[in-house]
């Protein structure tokens, strides 16, 4: 039951920390049916669990509530639907905060839906008793070593619960962990009535979602030929023009900066790619080698003939666990002889720590001479010369917090007891911060039930 010929879906947030101007300008500068927003990286949910354990009203993406506060009247007036994974590990608290924002603007009747079922932190033991092993899907290692230090555990849900929430009339759909492309695929399933075995079209929506999931990375951001990109300051965030047959265009609003070309889109298509012929999601397996891609006018790329196939019978599970401590700090060392002085300074730090009984193994420490080819280590540079200054960056890690903290107190003394020209210690002593380990696993889909609830604010 396709209701529209074409649906416009834009993504305004590539990660928690992306510019708030993305979504604000998408709403302001051109037509839009759906605005999607991605706030979750692999370790974000672990941080949110910690925040919620300290305060039951926390544990979601607070940036999202600030954004809604800025744009709510425009959202309602233009009837743009929003799909965001901002619910984190506490979507109900996010709903409460949104209700306050709606009331503050003197509006009513705004429908907010919540998708739940991804959070399995409290169910791990039950699921293991039922037969799930949660072995690390990269290494095969059993969960036992990290079981007692798990701090979050979430399933990557697919796009169908989002479509269900939209069918219930929601203007804002809040999810926890789901696939990033699902934020875009969900609205397309809803609008075009795609079914669960319509694999080619589900794959098309997945690829559309992958292209826009990092925001401006498909419209000229992080682009090899950066000198060719006009007006990067006012870069337009991507808009998908999707059609019921699965074909779609990638474009951006008229008058915005940046560019959309075969090349800018291809740059994003290969981003974080594994085997391009098998991109696994809970909804389908998308084949990134299948489609045709062509430029169709200025700042418009058309993609058609995407092929997909049936998904596996497992969900990917993303767990995080406490993996020790680390501390990293840096100082700036001016020339002349910046690199030689930086090398001496690093040596001084390790020797003083060793004198006091603190030694760190080769895998527990790092020294980087920023300005002397750290990023492209081992690759000879045509344009290398004597650096005018060096940023000395040093760090340690390990299970013992006190030992990691001890390192931090030997860096700053270099200012007065190292070689001349050491400065830039404004950050003070580097302190130990927690390392959050990431544990990917698989589990059977039929052990997860998703739930959609609609609230009216």
């Amino acid at each position: 039951m396709p209701s529209k010929e074409q649906v416009l879906v834009a993504n305004g947030q590539g990660f928690w920390g992306d510019s708030i101007l993305g979504p604000i300008r998408l709403l302001r500068e051109g037509p839009l049916d759906y605005l999607t927003l991605d706030y979750l990286a692999e370790v974000t949910l672990s941080i949110m669990q910690k925040l919620r354990s300290r305060d039951p009203s926390k544990g979601y993406a607070t940036d999202f509530v600030r954004l809604v506060d800025r744009v709510l009247p425009e959202l309602v007036e233009k009837n743009v639907k929003v799909v965001a994974n901002a619910g984190g590990v506490n979507p109900m608290a996010c709903v409460e905060a949104l209700k306050e924002v709606v009331a503050k603007h003197g509006l009513r009747g705004v429908k907010i839906a919540v998708v739940e079922g991804d959070d399995i932190l409290d169910r791990i033991d039950d699921l293991m008793a039922a037969g799930e092993t949660f072995a690390n899907m990269d290494t095969g290692e059993p969960l036992a070593r990290v079981r007692d230090t798990i701090t979050s555990a979430n399933v990557y849900l697919g796009a169908f619960p989002i479509a269900e929430a939209l069918a219930d009339g929601a203007q804002i759909v809040l999810t926890g962990r789901g696939t990033d492309p699902g934020l875009v695929l969900g609205p397309l399933i809803h609008e075009f009535g795609w079914s669960a075995d319509d694999y080619d079209r589900l794959a098309a929506g997945t690829i559309a979602g992958h292209i826009v999931e990092c925001g401006a990375q498909c419209t000229g951001g992080n682009y090899t030929d950066w000198r060719d990109v006009p007006d990067l300051a006012m870069v337009g965030y991507p808009v998908i023009e999707a059609r019921a047959d699965g074909s779609f265009a990638i474009t951006k609003h008229e008058g915005t900066g940046g560019m959309v070309s075969r090349d800018t889109v291809a740059h994003q298509l290969v981003y974080e790619m594994g085997d391009p012929s098998r991109y696994l999601t809970p909804d389908c397996i998308a084949d990134f080698t299948s489609f045709r891609m062509r430029e169709a006018g200025s700042n418009r790329v058309e993609i058609e003939d995407v092929a997909g196939s049936a998904p596996t019978d497992t969900y990917k599970v993303s767990m995080s666990y406490h993996d020790g401590w680390k501390a990293v700090g840096q100082l700036t060392i001016s020339g002349p002889d910046a690199l030689d002085k930086a090398k001496l300074a690093a040596d001084v730090v390790w020797k003083r720590l060793a004198y006091d009984g603190f030694e760190y193994g080769p895998d527990e420490r790092i020294v980087e001479f920023l300005g002397a080819n750290v990023c492209h280590e081992g690759i000879a540079l045509r344009d290398a010369g004597e650096p005018s200054e060096i940023v000395l960056r040093m760090g340690v890690k390990g299970p013992d917090r006190a030992k990691v903290d001890r390192f931090g107190s030997e860096l700053v003394p270099l200012v007065t007891s190292g070689p001349p020209g050491v400065t830039g210690f404004a950050g003070g002593r580097p302190k130990a911060t927690e390392i959050i380990g990431f544990w990917p696993a698989l589990m059977r889909k039929d052990r997860i039930e998703t739930k959609v609830t609609v609230f009216e604010a």
């Binding site: 990269d138 298509l269 290969v270 981003y271 391009p276």
Partner: protein
């Protein structure tokens, strides 16, 4: 044959992939793609990036995008928040590979606008 940097005939984007990174190489012409498919092998990439990547290299091709995708299995110093490296996510690995110098046939260069 002319010795040029890979950047002359290809573009790149990279990012993190667990404890490793991926580098997508995008050929700038059909001729460049055919040449790279033959000569930009897993071995060539592994040797060029041997100090950045301590693990194996795996290559995939996507002809429809003129893309070669390389997985560098151990290039992030542990990966995620366990990494002490500045580039803990492999964001700069694409540009590192584009610095590779290659002997490229002149007809490939002619068919690949600079």
């Amino acid at each position: 044959m002319t010795r040029v940097e890979l950047a002359r005939i290809a573009a790149a984007r990279s990012g993190d992939k667990g404890e490793g990174s991926n580098v997508g190489i995008l050929a700038r012409s059909d001729a460049a793609y055919a040449f790279l498919k033959e000569h930009l092998t897993e071995d060539v990439v592994r040797q060029h990036m041997s100090e950045l990547n301590l693990g194996a290299v795996q290559r995939f091709a996507a002809d429809n995008m003129r893309a070669l995708n390389f997985l560098l299995e151990d290039s992030l110093g542990g990966g995620g928040s366990a990494s002490l490296k500045t580039d803990a996510q492999g964001k700069t690995h694409g540009l590192a590979l584009l610095r590779l110098e290659l002997e490229v046939p002149d007809e490939v260069l002619t068919e690949t606008p600079a």
